[in-house]
């Protein structure tokens, strides 16, 4: 496990350095910083060192450190991504399992074709459709924003659902309701693609597991289908797909940025897009670095987590088949 751990951390460090290198050359071409002495290698090392310390430069528009701005906008985006992932697991795991069990059955075909449709719909279009129907026509959800602005929710962690706890007890409920109702639509839209991914991957993985001998053995033992699935199949089908779901995080983050514009969600996507309009190169570069780093870290962490709970994964890295 230690060897595996070192290998993965190695991957993390190298990718981080490469991303920094790209950002570094981008910065050199823009010449937005005062050139320091020394050759480019030492400049590069200083650059990496500053980034590691959270010194991403100062925004040329607001005059504030980019890192501080990132910290104030990132939680809103992460809140959206986390809730979307949660929803995709809640919906995706039962459906994926179902599709996996009923191999070559109309249920599987139905689930997979619905999944395919969901996968092909552009998120911003779906978002607009939902806003149009469920907000404007039916009035179920608010159109956009993060919470009712007349309610004062302090910004402590930046995650609205957690920050509500700092309010007075009688103000907590309405604030939480407001946050959840604002979160509902963007979460729903953002969850579509990861849900389809969970379903597709899980159904394949499940189908593979269901044809294994130990499942047949369990069936001969007289266990019901439900028992087989919950005790044996799901347990073995889920871990192999975790790393590829971790990779989905990057995808979800990108879509979240698009959705933030549609839903006027005050997250990092809107911040980056307004930085692009204002040609604030320092902010764009800082934001890109932060997002890229976040994506690799998530991937490596899910990978390590998988290896921890699913020893077979480690074998792949040692090339022992």
């Amino acid at each position: 496990m230690l060897r595996y751990f070192i290998r993965r951390i190695n991957l993390l460090v190298i990718t981080f350095l490469i991303i920094n290198l790209i950002a570094f050359f981008f910065q050199k071409n823009q010449t937005i910083f005062i050139e320091t002495d020394g050759n480019w290698l030492s400049q590069y090392l200083v650059f990496v060192w500053n980034n590691l310390n959270g010194d991403l430069g100062v925004s040329s528009i607001t005059g504030k450190p980019v890192f501080d701005e990132l910290i104030s906008f990132l939680p809103a985006t992460l809140e959206l991504c986390f809730s979307a992932f949660l929803l995709s697991f809640i919906v995706g795991i039962p459906l994926g399992t179902l599709a996996g069990i009923y191999h070559q059955h109309w249920i599987r075909n139905l689930i997979l074709s619905v999944t395919m449709v969901g996968y092909s719909i552009p998120v911003f279009w779906l978002a607009l459709l939902l806003v149009m129907n469920s907000s404007l026509l039916l009035g179920w959800f608010p159109v956009s924003g993060r919470y009712d602005l007349l309610l004062e929710i302090p910004q402590i962690t930046g995650f609205g659902i957690i920050d509500v706890m700092w309010l007075e007890p009688q103000a907590r409920w309405p604030a939480l309701m407001s946050i959840v109702s604002h979160l509902a639509l963007p979460t729903l839209v953002l969850a579509v693609v990861p849900t389809t991914e969970v379903i597709r991957q899980l159904s394949n993985s499940m189908a593979k597991v269901m044809s294994e001998n130990y499942i047949k053995a369990a069936a001969t033992k007289g266990l019901s289908k439900w028992q087989i699935v919950t005790r044996h199949a799901l347990h073995n089908a889920l871990p192999p797909i975790l790393p590829s779901l971790g990779l989905q995080f990057g995808n979800v983050l990108t879509m979240a940025m698009v959705l933030e514009v549609v839903f006027a969600w005050p997250g990092i996507g809107r911040w980056l897009i307004s930085s692009i309009y204002q040609q604030d190169y320092v902010a764009i570069q800082g934001g890109m670095l932060a997002v890229a780093t976040l994506v690799i870290i998530t991937f490596v962490l899910t990978d390590l987590f998988t290896a921890l709970i699913h020893p077979l994964r480690r074998r792949e890295v040692y090339a022992q088949h």
């Binding site: 806003v131 159109v143 993060r146 009712d148 602005l149 004062e152 407001s178 006027a264």
Partner: protein, 532 residues
């Protein structure tokens, strides 16, 4: 009653309690959906009218005000003023008992007095003032109208009166002081910040004496103000005023429809149909004192040649712009001033074009023309990009080559201030800040404004400057009107710009809100707004 149903009841009662509280918050709060956040909370430093609408009328008071209905000057911080015979000395007597905001970062120990007025203007006039240095002397409005150039002295006569001494008479002086830019800051607060070495916060964490005070903000999300209980006109009925920053116009409309916003500025023309169908939404319409125009860069070929400017000006179909961009919520502009200004002069429509082929026109058609456009909606032009495309279409039909480039306002400002500016045409516009036409012409056509980047056509005309000065110094309105007529004639002949449209000024709001004051110049005011 078992434990379960007891629990359910408790939960329900909590929910109801919550709802009740939410109702209260809703009743005492107002949400204004706006497209942009201000870069500073000090209107003296701001040039965008949209940004000023968020700050000036709510946070600050002015020496004098324009009555929104009669358009006469009335007292503000100054309860009366006296003008000397030679029209060079303006004495202002200040109202007693005006309280500054008390917030968690500042509590005032005294009421507003002459020191505060002195500080507010000295920071603009005195180039050695620490605040002047801090702001780089960049006071867009005051610099453009040449405010400092005409002031001989600013004297404190007593604790409750001050005096401006002018170098030459200026008919527009009082109107300038009544504009949204001429706000009164707190000298005590500035002193306090100076002691802490944080003077820069003066313009970011504002203290004024207006009906609301600054509570908090989240960048690109919202700005929150609270009611100022001790406001000298009486506390406003609303406890909270929140500005919801939503850049997309359709989302602002959607928020208004679902009740997330109470008021939005400048609904797009194609949204009016939707608004008309709703009984609970009202639209306030005023004739706009604004103009959208196409500025020619007169310092650079091909438009350094007035004949080319005239040719291009004659090709553009203004009616089509009014029809398809504004959907008839604007008037075709004959001149820079709209008909609601007292200096308006009815002009003939653009002259007929002759279709002879001149060598200089042919030459202009060889090179592509750079047309620069803002990529955001402004009060004078809801869809600048579309307007630019229509203009391009008109010109391309006649053989010109046009490249349209879109810019964010901040970026455009930066380019305009750069020493080498290489646009050929700029699609911009202007909304007036006060009732006097002087400000309108001086800010956009004075030679001084070329360097400041507000003279978009970079046009500098000696005769024009003379007339402009004559217009401000003459005491009789009839003489002033005559000068402004001539000024408009010169612009018409020399075509540094082609005026396109005067947009109507519109707000849409929920009918549960009453008492909003619509100021013809500058933004709305909520000091007496309440919810029915």
């Amino acid at each position: 009653m078992n434990a379960f149903s007891f629990g359910t009841m408790m939960c329900l009662s909590f929910l109801l309690l919550g709802c009740e509280q939410q109702q209260d918050v809703k009743k005492l709060g107002l949400v204004y959906c706006t497209e942009t956040a201000p870069h500073t909370f000090n209107p003296q430093l701001e040039s965008s009218m949209n940004a000023i609408a968020v700050t000036s009328r709510h946070l600050y008071d002015r020496l004098i005000e324009v009555d929104p209905i009669t358009q006469q000057l009335v007292g503000g911080v100054a309860n009366n003023w006296h003008i000397s015979e030679d029209r060079l000395h303006y004495r202002f007597d200040l109202r007693q008992g005006i309280h500054f905001h008390k917030t968690d970062y500042f509590s005032p120990s005294r009421n507003l007095n002459a020191d505060d007025v002195m500080l507010s203007f000295e920071r603009i006039l005195n180039s050695e003032h620490p605040l002047y240095i801090l702001a780089n002397g960049d006071y867009p409005f005051f610099n453009n109208i040449g405010f400092g150039n005409n002031i001989q002295a600013l004297n404190k006569l007593s604790n409750s009166s001050i005096e401006f001494v002018l170098k030459k008479p200026d008919a527009a002086f009082l109107a300038n002081l009544a504009s949204d830019y001429a706000v009164i800051l707190s000298a005590e607060y500035a002193q306090q910040l100076n002691d802490k070495n944080q003077l820069g916060l003066l313009d970011q964490q504002p203290i004024g004496s207006g009906p609301f005070y600054y509570a908090s903000q989240r960048k690109d999300h919202f700005i929150r103000y609270y009611r100022h209980w001790l406001h000298w006109r009486g506390a406003p009925p609303m406890q909270q005023l929140v500005f919801d920053i939503t850049p997309t116009s359709s989302i602002r409309l959607a928020k208004l429809l679902t009740g997330q916003c109470d008021i939005m500025a400048q609904p797009a023309a194609n949204q009016l149909e939707v608004l008309k169908e709703r009984d609970d939404l009202l639209v306030s319409v005023q004739a706009g004192l604004n103009v959208s125009y196409l500025a020619f860069n007169t310092q650079k070929p091909p438009f350094a040649d007035v004949r080319v400017r005239r040719n291009v000006a004659g090709l553009i179909n203004k009616q089509r712009i009014v029809d398809s961009v504004y959907l008839n919520t604007a008037e075709i502009a004959d001149g820079m001033l709209s008909a609601s200004s007292w200096a308006y002069r009815h002009q003939a429509r653009s002259p007929e074009q002759d279709f002879l082929v001149y060598p200089y026109i042919e030459k202009a058609k060889q090179q592509p023309i750079e047309l620069w456009v803002l990529n955001e909606a402004k009060s004078y032009n809801p869809q600048p990009h579309k307007t630019a495309e229509l203009i391009r279409n008109d010109l391309v039909k006649d053989g010109y080559q046009v490249n349209v480039r879109l810019f964010d306002w901040e970026v455009l400002r930066r380019y305009l201030l750069a020493p080498s500016v290489n646009y050929d045409m700029l699609l911009v516009g202007w909304s007036t800040d006060n009732s006097d036409p002087d400000d309108f012409f001086r800010q956009q056509f004075a030679c001084e404004a070329v360097e400041q980047g507000y003279n978009y056509s970079r046009w500098c005309n000696g005769h024009f400057e003379q007339l402009l000065d004559a217009a401000t110094t003459s005491p009789r309105l009839a003489d002033r009107v005559r000068s402004y007529y001539k000024i408009q004639e010169i612009i018409e002949q020399d075509v540094p710009v082609l005026p396109l449209t005067h947009a109507l000024k519109m707000y849409s709001y929920n009918n549960s809100v009453s008492g909003i004051t619509w100021n013809p110049y500058g933004g709305v005011s909520f000091s007496s707004a309440y919810r029915k």
